[in-house]
C-alpha cells in the first residue's frame, strides 16, 4: 500500500510516464483507498503484538489495566456508582477519570470481552487479569474502534478537504490519507501503549470535516461527543468556538445561529450526562473526577512550559496548587486568545485548521496536568495541514516521537518505535511531496539538520548510556528541552500564519470594496 502511495506519487516526478505509478489511482480512488486502509490495519495489528503499558508489573500495572478495570466497573455496577468511591469501586485503583462517553464505551467493550472471556471482567477478582486471549480481545476493541470511527472520519475529511481543489491531485490525496492514517504517534499510543485516543480524535476529525463542509450543527454535536470522550478534546475548543462564532457573526442573523449551535451542544451534553442529572450534586461529583488537580501541574518529563521552565523556576515549590491552577488557567487562556480572536475576525477554513493547531499547542504548553501523550492532539491538526505545510507536519511528528520516547521505552516498545519512525520517514518522502519541501531549503537548513542530528544522538545516548548518578533524569530533561524549543517554534509559526491570513482577508475585503 505504501507502494500505492508511492505509485501515486511517482507520476509527478516524470510527467510523461505518469501512468506508471498511477495504476493504483487509475482503478478509481476507492481501490487505492482500500489498499491504504488495509495497510494501515496491518501496521496496527503488527504493532499490537508488542507489549502494552504495565504488562506484568503488579500491583498498579498501567493504562491497559486501567481500561480493563473500567470495563469491569461499568459492566458490574449501576451507572450511578461508576464515579463513586465504594468497597467494590476503589477510586484509588484506576478510578474512572474520563467523561461519561468513555464510560459507555468501556461498557460496550466490556460486553464484548465478557462474551468471549468472562473471567477477564469479573468484579474485583479480575484485577490485574492478564492472559493471551485477554490481551488479544483488548487489542481488538481498540482496533475495532479505530476502524469504525477514526478511519471513516479521516476518509470523510479527505473527501471534504479535496472536494474543491483541482481534480488531478489524486496522488496527493492518497499521500495525505496515508499520512493521517499512519501517524506513528497515534498508532504507538493506541495499539502499543494502549489507549482509545482514536475515538476522541476520530470524533474530532469528523467534527472538523462536518464544519468544513458547512454542517455546523452536526460538527458541534460531534465535537461535543469528542469532549465527552476525553476532556482533553477541550484543547481544540477555542478554535471550534472562534471559527463557528466568527462564521455566525457574518450571517444575516447571528444571534439565531449562535442559539442553534448552543442548543445543539447543550442537548448533546444533556443526553450524554442524563444518568447523572438526577440531582444537583451528582454531575459535580463526576466533574471532580475529571479534574485531577491533586496530581500536580505536570508529571514526568513533558515538553511543556511548566515542566521545561521548572529547570530554572521550581513552580511546585514556589506556589500552592491553588495558585498554580489559576496561573495555568490565565496563561492558557491568554496564549490561545490571540488565535481565537484572529479566527473570529477571519473565519476561513484554512485559518480554522491553523487555529486548531495553535490552540491545542497553547493548551499543551500551559494547561494543568499535561501528559506526554497529549502531543497527539496538536499532531492531528498538523496532519490536516500536511499537504499545505509539510515541513511543520514533519517537524512536529519527529519531535513528538522523540518526546514520547522515554514513555515508549518504559513500555518496551522500542522495536515498533523504530519501525514506525522508519515507516513515517519513508512514506513522508514518497516522492509526491519532495518538491515542496525542497523549496524550503533556506537559512534554516543547517538548523534543521542540527536539530535532527541532536534528536538522533539523544535516541542513541538514551538507549546506550547510563545517566550520571546525580542527575538520573538528565537525558529526559535534555530531550524535553529540545522538543519544547521545536514545539514552541511551531506554535509561533502558526500564530504568525493566522495573523497573515487575517491581513490577507482584510486586503481582499478592501479590494472588493474598491471594485
Amino acid at each position: 500500500m505504501e507502494k500505492k502511495t508511492k505509485k501515486a506519487t511517482k507520476p509527478s516526478r516524470d510527467g510523461s510516464e505518469s501512468n506508471i505509478w498511477s495504476f493504483l489511482t487509475q482503478k478509481g480512488t476507492a481501490a487505492s483507498f482500500i489498499c491504504i486502509t488495509l495497510f494501515a490495519i496491518l501496521v496496527r495489528i503488527a504493532v499490537s503484538i508488542h507489549p502494552y503499558s504495565g504488562a506484568g508489573t503488579p500491583p498498579k500495572y498501567g493504562d491497559y489495566e486501567a481500561q480493563r478495570h473500567w470495563m469491569e466497573i461499568t459492566l458490574n455496577l449501576p451507572v450511578k456508582e461508576w464515579y463513586r468511591n465504594s468497597t467494590v469501586n476503589d477510586l484509588k485503583y484506576w478510578g474512572l477519570d474520563y467523561p461519561p462517553l468513555t464510560a459507555y464505551q468501556s461498557y460496550i467493550h466490556g460486553l464484548f470481552l465478557r462474551y468471549f472471556d468472562p473471567q477477564s471482567v469479573e468484579l474485583y477478582t479480575s484485577r490485574g487479569y492478564e492472559s493471551y486471549i485477554g490481551k488479544l480481545l483488548m487489542r481488538w476493541t481498540v482496533l475495532l474502534s479505530d476502524v469504525l470511527i477514526f478511519f471513516p472520519a479521516v476518509m470523510y475529511f479527505i473527501i471534504v478537504y479535496y472536494s474543491g481543489i483541482h481534480e488531478g491531485s489524486k496522488s496527493g490525496r492518497l499521500w495525505h490519507f496515508a499520512m493521517i492514517l499512519l501517524n506513528p504517534c497515534l498508532i504507538l499510543i493506541d495499539h502499543g501503549h494502549f489507549q482509545y485516543n482514536c475515538i476522541s480524535l476520530g470524533l474530532t476529525v469528523a467534527a472538523v470535516s462536518a464544519i468544513l463542509s458547512d454542517r455546523d450543527i452536526v460538527g458541534s454535536i460531534l465535537f461535543s461527543f469528542a469532549l465527552n470522550h476525553k476532556q482533553m478534546s477541550a484543547y481544540f475548543a477555542p478554535a471550534f468556538f472562534g471559527y463557528l462564532f466568527g462564521k455566525c457573526l457574518k450571517r444575516r442573523n447571528p444571534f439565531l445561529e449562535v442559539l442553534k449551535l448552543g442548543l445543539a451542544v447543550l442537548g448533546t451534553f444533556t443526553v450524554l450526562w442524563w444518568p447523572y442529572l438526577y440531582s444537583v450534586e451528582a454531575p459535580f461529583e463526576v466533574l471532580s473526577r475529571l479534574a485531577p488537580f491533586e496530581r500536580g501541574i505536570y508529571e514526568d518529563y513533558v515538553a511543556n512550559f511548566w515542566c521545561t521552565t521548572s529547570v530554572i523556576v521550581k513552580w511546585k515549590r514556589l506556589f500552592s496548587t491553588q495558585a498554580l491552577r489559576i496561573l495555568s488557567l490565565v496563561s492558557t487562556v491568554s496564549t490561545c486568545l490571540p488565535s481565537m480572536l484572529l479566527l473570529i475576525l477571519a473565519p476561513s477554513r484554512r485559518n480554522f485548521l491553523f487555529g486548531l493547531l495553535s490552540s491545542s499547542l497553547s493548551f499543551y504548553f500551559f494547561s494543568f496536568q499535561v501528559h506526554e501523550k497529549s502531543i497527539l492532539l496538536p499532531l492531528l491538526p498538523a496532519s490536516f495541514l500536511a499537504i499545505d505545510e509539510p515541513l511543520i507536519f514533519r517537524w512536529l511528528t519527529y519531535f513528538a516521537l522523540l518526546s514520547m520516547f522515554p514513555l515508549l521505552r518504559r513500555d518496551e516498545l522500542i522495536l515498533p518505535y523504530i519501525a514506525l519512525y522508519g515507516l513515517f520517514v519513508l512514506l513522508y518522502n514518497a516522492p509526491v511531496q519532495r518538491e515542496d519541501t525542497r523549496e524550503t531549503r533556506s537559512p534554516f537548513t543547517t538548523l534543521k539538520y542540527f536539530a535532527i542530528a541532536c534528536s538522533l544522538l539523544l535516541h542513541i545516548v538514551y538507549l546506550m548510556v547510563t545517566p550520571p548518578r546525580r542527575y538520573p533524569f538528565l537525558f529526559e530533561a535534555v530531550m524535553m528541552l529540545l522538543c519544547f524549543c521545536q514545539f514552541f517554534f511551531v506554535f509561533m509559526y502558526t500564530n504568525m500564519k493566522q495573523w497573515e491570513l487575517l491581513k490577507l482577508s482584510s486586503q481582499t475585503v478592501r479590494e472588493k470594496k474598491n471594485i
Binding site: F23, S163, G172, R349, R350, T508
Partner: protein, 553 residues
C-alpha cells in the same frame, strides 16, 4: 460522500484568493501533480534512481518485518539456533554427526557455512545462543531479535535478485513485480513469522535466472550450483539447467562446444568440491548425504502439501471404503503415509504403494516435455518459465513435500506474470492459492489477522495492478489494431470467482463452523479440506503451465 460538500464552495477558495500569491517563500505552490522536472521520457532509467526506488519499496517491507519480530515462530527457529550452535562450537568434521539436539543439520555445506558466519555475530550478541547444550530451546530477547534480523537482512539478496531481473524492463512492470515479490505474503508468512531463510535462497535463484535471461550462461550455471550447495531441494530444476546449458551455452560446433562444456563443468565441479571437499577429506561425506536425504520420512508431510498425492490418498480411501461396502475384505493399513517406511507394510489399502523411486520417476517424466523444448530450442526468454515449471512438478509429485515448497515456483512466476493477460490471470489464482495453503503454518489467534490481511493486501494490489496494467496497454492496442478490448483485459472469470469464493467458504468452515459442529473432535478435517481444495488449484496451475510450455514456440 456528501452531495452538499461538493456544492459547497471549495475549501481553498473560501480563503481569499490571495493565498496563492502570497509573497512568502515558505509555502511552495501546490501543484504536486504537474512537475515537469524530467522533461523527456527516458527509456532506460538511471540506475541510481532505480536503486533508490527499489530500496524504498523494500525498506517499507522491512519496517513491517521489523514489527513482526515478536510474533509466533515455529520450531524452525530452534532448528536454526541449533545450527548456529553446532557450527560455532564444533569443528567442521563434526557438523553433520552431532546429535545433541533432535534438530540436526540437514542442509548442504554452504548453508552450514552461512550459519557459521552468522554464529560469529551471534556469539557477540548472546554467547548462550551458540552454546551447544545450554542453548537448547534458548529464547532470550536478544536471541529472537538477532535471528529475526538475520532473516530480514539476508532478504536483501532477494531484493538484489529482483533488481537484476527487472532493471531492463519497463517502468510500470518493474514496480508491479517488486510489489509482487517483496510484499509476497507467502514469503512474509514463511520467513518472517514461521522462520526460514527462503527469501535469501530464492534471491540466489533469481540472480541465476537473471544471468541466464541476459545470456550470461556461465554465471547462471555457477550461481545455480552455489544455490544447490545451500539447499538441495532446489535440485529439482537441475535437469532443466543441464539441458538448457548444454544446448544454449555449449554451442558452436563439436570442439568449441566441448570446450565450453569443460569450462562450465569445471565451474560446477569447483563449487561442489568447495562445498563437499572438506567433508570428503574428513571422511564425513556419507554422513552428510545421509542427513541431507532422510528417506525415512513418509510420502506426505504431517500437514499434506496440496499436491497430486492428496488425490491419490483420497482415492485409496474412497476405494477401500466402497470395496468394504460391496463386501470385499480390505485390510486396513497399519502404516501412515506421513510416517516413514515402516517395514514392508504399505500405507495404502487398495492402490499400489508409492516409493521414493516412483515419485522420482514421475517428477522426471513430468518435467520431460519441458526438457524436450529446452533441447530443441533453448531460448533465454523461456528459461524462467521452464524452471518454475520444474519446481511445480517437484511440488506436485515429489516425496515428502512441504507446503512451503510452493514458494519455489510462485516467486519466479511473479517475474513473468506480466508477459500476457493469461499469465497474469494464472498468477493471480496461483499466488492466492499458494498463500492460502500456507495458512495452517500459523495456527495461533494472534497471527490470524496478520496472515489474512497480508493475503488481502496482496490480492488487492495484484488485482489493481493487473487490471490497470492490462487495460492501459490494451487501450492503445485497441485504438491501433481495433482488437476487441475485453478479450485482453484482466478480468477474473466467473469460474475463478467461484473458486476463490470456495476458498473463503473453506476458511469460514474451518474457523467457525467446524468448532461449532465438532468442538474439539476431528481436528484434522479443516486441514484436510484446505489441502484438498488447494490441491485443485495447484493441479490447475500445473496443467496450465504444462500447456503453456507445450504451446509456446
Amino acid at each position: 460522500m456528501s452531495p452538499s460538500s461538493s456544492s459547497s464552495p471549495p475549501l481553498k477558495s473560501s480563503t481569499p484568493n490571495t493565498t496563492r500569491r502570497r509573497p512568502k517563500a515558505m509555502k511552495p505552490p501546490k501543484n504536486h501533480h504537474k512537475h515537469h522536472s524530467d522533461q523527456t521520457p527516458i527509456p532506460k532509467p538511471k540506475p541510481n534512481r532505480l536503486i533508490t526506488e527499489i530500496l524504498w519499496v523494500s525498506l517499507v517491507a522491512t519496517c513491517i518485518k521489523f514489527l513482526l519480530i515478536p510474533a509466533y515462530h515455529s520450531t524452525d527457529f530452534e532448528v536454526h539456533r541449533n545450527w548456529l550452535a553446532i557450527t560455532h562450537s564444533l569443528p567442521l568434521s563434526q557438523w553433520y554427526s552431532d546429535e545433541t539436539s533432535p534438530w540436526t543439520l540437514d542442509y548442504p555445506p554452504f548453508f552450514a557455512h552461512f550459519e557459521h558466519f552468522l554464529s560469529f555475530f551471534a556469539s557477540l550478541v548472546d554467547p548462550i545462543m551458540v552454546h551447544l547444550q545450554q542453548g537448547l530451546n534458548y529464547k532470550s530477547q536478544p536471541t529472537i531479535l538477532f535471528q529475526r534480523l538475520t532473516v530480514i537482512v539476508s532478504d536483501f539478496v532477494l531484493v538484489f535478485g529482483i533488481y537484476r531481473l527487472t532493471r531492463n524492463s519497463g517502468y510500470k512492470e518493474r514496480v508491479l513485480i517488486w510489489v509482487l515479490v517483496i510484499f509476497s505474503p507467502g514469503l512474509m508468512i514463511v520467513d518472517h513469522l514461521h522462520f526460514q531463510y527462503n527469501g535469501f535462497l530464492l534471491g540466489i535463484l533469481l540472480i541465476s535466472l537473471s544471468a541466464l535471461e541476459e545470456g550470461k550462461d556461465l554465471l547462471g550455471g555457477f550461481v545455480f550450483a552455489v544455490l544447490l550447495c545451500f539447499k538441495h531441494l532446489f535440485a529439482v530444476a537441475a535437469p532443466v539447467y543441464f539441458v538448457y546449458l548444454l544446448r544454449h551455452y555449449c554451442r558452436g560446433g563439436l570442439i568449441r562446444g566441448f570446450g565450453k562444456l569443460v569450462i562450465i563443468g569445471s565451474a560446477v565441479v569447483a563449487v561442489f568440491a568447495a562445498a563437499y571437499g572438506p567433508f570428503l577429506y574428513h571422511g564425513q561425506i556419507q554422513q552428510v548425504f545421509h542427513r541431507m536425504f532422510p528417506f525415512g520420512r513418509g510420502l506426505c508431510h504431517a500437514y499434506w502439501a496440496p499436491n497430486f498425492w492428496v488425490f491419490y490418498i483420497i482415492l485409496d480411501k474412497v476405494l477401500a471404503f466402497s470395496l468394504v461396502k460391496m463386501g470385499f475384505s480390505v485390510q486396513t493399513p497399519t502404516a501412515s503415509f506421513t510416517g516413514g517406511l515402516v517395514g514392508d507394510s504399505s500405507p495404502f489399502a487398495v492402490l499400489p504403494r508409492v516409493t521414493p523411486m516412483v515419485t522420482f520417476s514421475i517428477v522426471l517424466l513430468a518435467i520431460a516435455p519441458c526438457l524436450i523444448k529446452a533441447w530443441k530450442d533453448p531460448q533465454p526468454r523461456m528459461i524462467t518459465r521452464w524452471i518454475a515449471y520444474a519446481y511445480t512438478c517437484g511440488f506436485m509429485f515429489g516425496w515428502h513435500v512441504h507446503e512451503k515448497a510452493s514458494l519455489h515456483f510462485v516467486i519466479p512466476l511473479a517475474i513473468i506474470s506480466l508477459k500476457s493477460v493469461e499469465d497474469a490471470k494464472h498468477y493471480f489464482y496461483l499466488s492466492i492459492v499458494s498463500c492460502y495453503s500456507l495458512f495452517p503454518l500459523l495456527f495461533e489467534a494472534q497471527e490470524y489477522p496478520i496472515k489474512v490481511l497480508l493475503l488481502l493486501l496482496h490480492a488487492t494490489l495484484m488485482w489493481i495492478g493487473f487490471s490497470s496494467h492490462f487495460t492501459t496497454t490494451n487501450r492503445k492496442a485497441a485504438e491501433s489494431e481495433q482488437t476487441r478490448y475485453n478479450k485482453t483485459s484482466f478480468i477474473v472469470g466467473w469460474f475463478g470467482k467461484l473458486y476463490l469464493l470456495g476458498l473463503v467458504a473453506v476458511e469460514i468452515y474451518g474457523q467457525f463452523v467446524h468448532p461449532i459442529i465438532f468442538a474439539e473432535r476431528l481436528p484434522f478435517l479443516p486441514l484436510m479440506m484446505i489441502s484438498i481444495y488447494c490441491a485443485f488449484g495447484m493441479m490447475y496451475s500445473w496443467i496450465w503451465q504444462l500447456r503453456q510450455i507445450v504451446k509456446c514456440h
